[in-house]
Amino acid sequence: MVNTLPQVAALLPVFLLGFTGLALLLVDTISPDARSNTSMAVVGAVGSLAALAASVWLVVSGTGSTDTGGAITLFAEAIKVDTMALFFAAIFASVTALVVVAAHDYFHDHESPAAFYSLVVFAATGMTLLAAANSLAVVFVALEMVSLPSYVLVAYLKQNRGSVEAGMKYFLVGALSSAIFLFGISLVYAATGSLLFSGVAEGIGSLDGLAGVAGLGIVMIVGGVAYKTASVPFHFWAPEAYEGAPAPVSAFLSSASKAAGFVVAFRLFTEAFPVGASLTAGIDWVLAFGILAAVTMTLGNFAAAVQEEVKRMLAYSSIGHAGYVLIGVAALSQDGGANGAVMGAAMAHLLVYGFMNTGAFLFVAMAERWGVGRTFEDYAGLARRAPVASTAMAVFMFSLAGLPPFAGFFSKYFLFMGAIDNGFLWLAAFGAVNSVVSLYYYSRVVKALFIDDPASSSSLDAIDVRPTGLYAAVVFAAVATVLLLPGFGPVIETAEAAASALF
């Protein structure tokens, strides 16, 4: 069925999201009734769900997979659609759908909610494009296409000082890291003479004394990736931005935008700078990523453990999870038999994370909507008034901690197991210890919701509304987090096949 379509149909998820963004602008022009954002939410949700359906359908029908003739390259090889691109498109589309639905209630009294939807969807378009990039130039353009709407989104509550300040910080760090990333690209181009990944990889093999230039370029590119994924040493913006931004935006950034950073890393460090050629050239980025992964997960988890505000705790936990996923790059080896397995596990973790972390931030969005406060104490006893949402939050917390009855257990387990199979026992050990630490602060949220008594009998009165959209998004994310445990088989198989195709 797919064969009868032109090859460009492989970019269907990108097109669908792009058209949705344009449609949102059109809707806003036709009926600029700023008070009602229902039509915007519906269009955004339908568009992103269509993109999700398209990506799943393309994956299932084998588009771009090695079984059906390999990746589809388009536009003079600048774009390459393979299973990995589609897998990530599915992550981005699911997160976008959840965020758009939740935002309907979150921005119910915002004076101009319309721009929000188009910005989110355009950012998601950039992410799906990023996942299919096959040239450093496309990577950069797509990355900026993700970043620019993100800056605006963080500062979206422009009457709120925290939001604006967060946006400013995010923008400054972002601009700096974009410049570094671009400089890195130019150095790599100077050393290898190509922007296409395959050309770069060939060039890395025969550097002729330019190893220093290429190495510096790669270090700078690593810096750009670290910024986008909120990893050490460019993680400083993350707690500020996630805390100050409106919660749906934090959900979007910490799940989708982080995954976008990782897809760049996965592609660049397999196709453009393959392990073997890089090591031959004396550029040991594997060790660099190993150290970054260990430091990032340790810093994220220990910092999360001392937070008093739930949203800030989630921000640091999101840094910790970046550390886990970095194992997917850090545990690669020259002829490691489990390269595909470990990177595939990292992809699967990002998918699961897309649901559980988005869900957790959307629960915070719900708390902000109710106005119950930000700290753990403020969450005390919420389960009495909102049992369903609180149960969903408990599912997210336990799953993020990696407890077995939920999908987070399997994705973490496969990740650590892949690392061990490739001989990186120490990374797996770091990950396991950090997982134990994380149980402490995740269970604090559950304890507050279910076990602690509310500060006063009237403190629960703030919960006077049942925002339908937020509820739907949170519950759906929870159901997905649970169902991904029995349904983990197809996910991990797809992810491993997608990752193996890159080696």
Binding site: P404, F409, F410, S443, F450, I451
Partner: protein
Amino acid sequence: MMIEALIGFTFVAALLVLLAPDEWAGRLAFAFSLLPFAGALSLWSGFDGAGNALTGGDIAYATQIEWLEVGGRTVSWFVGVDGISLPLVVLTTFLVPLAIVSAWTPIDARQSQFYGLMLFMEANLLGVFTALDFFLWFVFWEAVLVPMYFLIGIWGGPRRKYAAIKFFVYTNAASLLMFIGFMSLTFALGDSVSSFALPEITQAIADGGLGTWFNISPDRIAMVAFLAMFLGFAVKVPIVPFHTWLPDAHVEAPTPVSVLLAGVLLKMGTYALLRFNFTMLPDQASALAIPIAAVAVISVIYGAMLALAQKDLKRIVAYSSVSSMGYVILGLIVFTEYGVGGATFQMVAHGLISGLMFMAVGVIYNATHTRMVGDMSGMADRMPVAVGILVAGAFGYMGLPLMAGFAGEFFIFVGSFAAPALPYAPIFTALAMFGIVIVAGYLLSAMQSTLFGPFELETDYDVGPAPFHDVAPLAVLLVAIIVLGVAPDIFFEMIRDAAVPVVEGVTVDG
């Protein structure tokens, strides 16, 4: 498909009860919980297994469906029962309805959540006792903790938050240790296994499939794995010195939760020890026979001494569980037919007796709102039936013949006295037997001061007989204890059938 139906139904029932209104959640949960019991009875009546599930025996009601693949090994939905797990399945489904009825009086808030969580825990417990794939088993094993955490944390006593967190952290850390131990085994097995099915792994180890991994010799890996798993399960059992979470959890937990905690959850630990440590790695176990027997005897004596020093009735029963679990460990380590069989039998017997004791203490607490030995006396005057059953149960604990506790302990002592695998077996056995004397001491003295003599209790209301639905579960339990004591063979036969291959797995020198 019977087991799937059993677990699946219990999950669905948990959901339905969770959504039911508080007023009749308790009745609904009781009605639902009778069905799994009926299901377990039909499993029992149609049981056609033989031998031990792990060592290649015939597994009853087995189903194996592939789930996913990790590192070249398949993880599957693999369930089934043998002579060791079936009695525990029956015990679980039998205790849950009784525990639910015993909750009708004390649980007066958020009922639907309480009963929903109880059923949810039952479903996972059934999974623990039937799963024969490591991953499936581990998922159920950990999933038991989550409802337990809420049950203690929400409906517990004054220090419930501390107790819930302590329970959760302790047992989770232990699970991680155990998980790492088991995983190092599978790594060392390398290509000699193609799945995480416990029978396949057990047989591969028995056939010498362990290889070198990260330059560590097979023997050392097996020993490290044994120790990691032993420590992990020791927390759950609990074995002294890993028992400190237990009194806190028991004292704070509401009565029906204590019943399941002592009656079934502790058996998860001994069941896992039997399955993993003693069946998979029998040589390592017998190499460590003396230290393990020593901690078993220490648990017996030290647990009983701690019980002797308590003033809170619930703490007394809680510490005596530590003591009873020591007998189970002793029975397992001697590697004789009667030792291992008796230990398994004692798991069931102790589940019934400790369930009865906790329930009876709960009934008294419902009426008096105190559990302190010094606060009351002469309760027999006011609640004759409940007290009568409590006294009978206490005698069961002390090992009165024709009650289940006697049979279990008798089998263990018969098996351990002349055990070839354990040096100095008669000494260990004699020391452990001394524990019974202490048990009799503290139970008799506690009963004498609270139950008999003139009635004394400072209350502003009348203390009268307990309601029927409080006493009925006690009576049912007592009947079950006596039946099992009079006719232990209804379980012991199948247990022995499954225990013999475990015993044959060990090589005894000389």
